[in-house]
Structures are given as structure tokens and as C-alpha cells.
């Protein structure tokens, strides 16, 4: 297996994490993986700074100084550490200062933490594989780009493994769409309620963001105008595992509590005026 980097000019977090997860899978399958054209690659320094090669277990000499990543990007990291710590680390990196509830970045901090931990929980609970995460802030566009990918069984097989009746005669793309419906879980019962990916999808939509989910040969794209399409990867291509990638405006993420409430209501998980909890200050 040869991965040629010589003509690579631009890369997004989704590509970096899905390639890292694939390389890990190929090595687990004892396939020889060779990286070629690395030194001709125009963005070699960027890939190194994003710790892509490190995540693939390749040590390379670097010809640049490593500046602080805080507020700019999150290098590739494996989804293995306690998920709450990972969420705090990534959110703290992309929304510096947001750890403080009164800070202007706190809404962005909360949004990133929520999305990352819910998708990360899915990877740990369902995939049976190894997951990677990375993120980037594009200050010019004012957009946050985040991606998580694993090399596990994928969404369709995960539904089939719990013998969901409808999953036996469906496609990868339809299984992705089903995973975005509320209360559809690959593992019934505690502690899993099957709402994680649903709410992530709704929150990204409310923020007028963009969502991509790839699993098997299925692709779901949710656009900024709210339209969604289900497609298949071209030319027989197949992604072993699941990729969840998103981008959303930095400023939109500041209204976290309001977005969360709207996402819950839109998913039918919260009914306005139904408050039953005794809340004390």
C-alpha cells in the first residue's frame, strides 16, 4: 500500500484523520504501508505540525519551529484518553479562555466540547476500532472545522451487530441517515440513549454549519442552507469505519444553551413548557 503525497497541496482535518485511521487499520491488517513523495509535498510542514506522521507512527525530522497551536488548530490526537479530558483539551485549544464561564469564548468552548465528546463517545462505544480527532480555526472565514474518524465496523454493521431488523436490508447511506434520527442507537439501554449524533447534527444545522458523515460507501452531506443529501462514494470506493466532519461559524457557536434547547426541541427530545425539575440556584 503506497500513499503518494507529492501532489498534495491542501488538506482539511477530515482528510487527515480519515487517512490516519486508515493507515492504522492497514498496519493492523499487517499490510505494508509506504509513504512516497513526502519531501516533494508542498504542505509537508503543515502535516508535520498537525502531527499526522506522528499519529501514523512515522518519525521525521522537522525543519521549522513549533509555535503554540492554541487558538489556531488541534493536532491529530487519538480518541483513547478519558473523553471528558479530551473534550476539555480540544475546546480549550480552539476557544482559549472559554474554560471560564464568563469569558466571551465560553459558548464556543461549550459547543466544541459537546460535539466532540458526543461523537467521541460513539467511537468508543460502537466502532470497535481506533479513532482520531483534529480541528482547525479559519480566522479569515471565521469558521471552525472539526473531524473525527475511526477505523471500526461502520454504522451499518454496528446496527446489524445488534440485529436491528431494518438494518438487514438497507444501504450504508440509509444507515447513516437512520443514525441521525433520535433514539436510534446501536446499543440499546443504559448508558446509551441514541441521541448523540442526532443532537450534533441538529446543533450544526442550527448554527448554519456543514456536516459530512461517511461510513462504508455511504455519504451524508448536510449543507448550510439546511438541505441534506445521501450519496454513495464514487467508483466503488469504501471507507472502513466512520468519518464525522463539520464546520460552523465561530460566532454562531456563542449561543450554546439556546442552540442546545432548540436542537432538543427539534429532535422531539424536549417539549417547551414541560419543565418538571425542581431547580435551585
Amino acid at each position: 500500500m503506497t500513499v503518494d503525497f507529492s501532489k498534495l497541496r491542501r488538506v482539511v482535518p477530515a482528510a487527515i484523520v480519515s487517512l490516519a485511521a486508515s493507515v492504522h487499520l492497514w498496519e493492523r491488517q499487517r499490510r505494508q504501508v509506504h509513504f512516497s513523495g513526502v519531501h516533494e509535498c508542498e504542505i509537508l510542514g503543515y502535516l508535520q505540525r498537525m502531527d499526522f506522521f506522528k499519529a501514523c507512527g512515522v518519525e521525521m525530522q522537522e525543519s521549522f519551529q513549533r509555535w503554540e497551536s492554541k487558538g489556531r488548530f488541534v493536532p491529530v490526537c487519538m480518541v483513547t484518553q478519558p473523553i471528558d479530558e479530551m473534550g476539555a483539551d480540544v475546546a480549550g485549544c480552539l476557544a482559549p479562555g472559554g474554560e471560564d464561564y464568563e469569558h466571551p469564548m465560553s459558548g464556543l468552548f461549550d459547543t466544541i466540547a459537546y460535539v466532540l465528546t458526543e461523537v467521541g463517545n460513539n467511537i468508543r462505544q460502537h466502532s470497535g476500532g481506533v479513532g482520531y480527532a483534529a480541528a482547525q480555526v479559519n480566522r479569515q472565514e471565521g469558521m471552525i472545522k472539526m473531524a473525527l474518524a475511526d477505523n471500526g465496523m461502520g454504522i451499518l454493521k454496528s446496527f446489524q451487530s445488534v440485529e436491528a431488523p431494518w438494518s438487514m436490508s438497507t444501504t450504508h447511506a440509509e444507515a447513516i441517515a437512520k443514525a441521525l434520527e433520535p433514539r436510534i442507537s446501536c446499543k440499546a439501554g443504559e448508558p446509551n440513549e441514541g441521541v448523540g449524533l442526532t443532537l450534533v447534527g441538529e446543533m450544526v444545522s442550527i448554527m448554519r454549519g456543514w456536516l459530512l458523515v461517511v461510513s462504508g460507501n455511504g455519504v451524508l452531506i448536510s449543507r448550510r442552507d439546511g438541505s441534506r443529501t445521501l450519496e454513495e462514494l464514487p467508483e466503488g470506493a469504501f471507507y472502513q469505519g466512520t468519518l464525522v466532519a463539520m464546520s460552523f461559524p465561530e460566532t454562531a457557536a456563542s449561543h450554546y444553551a439556546d442552540h442546545l434547547r432548540k436542537a432538543k426541541i427539534k429532535s422531539g427530545l424536549l417539549h417547551p413548557g414541560s419543565g418538571r425539575a425542581i431547580l435551585e440556584p
Binding site: 458526543e118 448508558p191 434547547r261 417539549h271 414541560s274 418538571r276 431547580l279
Partner: protein, 105 residues
């Protein structure tokens, strides 16, 4: 023996609550046993910076599923920031639905 019981989520689980398995284990250990003999059980979220649905559903909805809607008269949720309150209310709705109760709108 006091008939009230208070647990501090921040002290016991941390200020960042995101793991459903942790919530489930904590509920079984620190909350469930007290509901049968305490008149009031307070879940104090003071100091909790943020949480997600996985944690809150595992913590709260199971209480209603196991003890019924009547448990809401005993439970007090203290120190919830606005987003935490959304997660609590949603987890309660989920618990009511799972316990077979009707969700009042």
C-alpha cells in the same frame, strides 16, 4: 439519620461531565441507594462547567425509569447553568417516556 442527602457532582465527578458510563456507575453508587429512605436528594451541579447528553441521560433518566415519576418530588437539581438545566429537563422527559409515563406538554 438525616432524611436529606446531597451529592456534589463537581467534587465527585469533575467539572466536565461527558462520559455516560461514569454517570451510570455514579448513580448506582451515590444516588440510587438513598432514594428509598431519603425525603430529599439534592444533585448539586455547582462548579460543573459543562456536560453532555450522554452523561446527563445516564445520570437522570435512569432514576425515573427505576423509581418512577414520583422520584421527581424528591430530586432537587441545584446550581445548574442554563445549558445544564436544558440537559436535566430533557433527561427527565426521556426518563418519563422510558418509565411509561405520559410526557406532559
Amino acid at each position: 439519620m438525616s432524611n436529606t442527602h446531597t451529592v456534589s457532582l463537581a467534587e465527585d465527578c469533575g467539572s466536565f461531565l461527558a462520559d455516560g458510563a461514569t454517570a451510570l456507575e455514579y448513580r448506582h453508587r451515590a444516588i440510587d441507594p438513598y432514594l428509598s429512605f431519603c425525603e430529599k436528594v439534592t444533585l448539586d451541579f455547582s462548579g460543573v462547567r459543562t456536560a453532555n447528553s450522554s452523561f446527563m441521560n445516564a445520570l437522570v433518566s435512569g432514576l425515573l425509569e427505576n423509581h418512577g415519576e414520583v422520584v421527581l418530588k424528591k430530586l432537587v437539581f441545584k446550581g445548574c447553568k442554563p445549558a445544564l438545566a436544558v440537559l436535566v429537563e430533557s433527561a427527565i422527559e426521556l426518563g418519563i417516556r422510558k418509565s411509561g409515563g405520559r410526557i406532559t406538554a
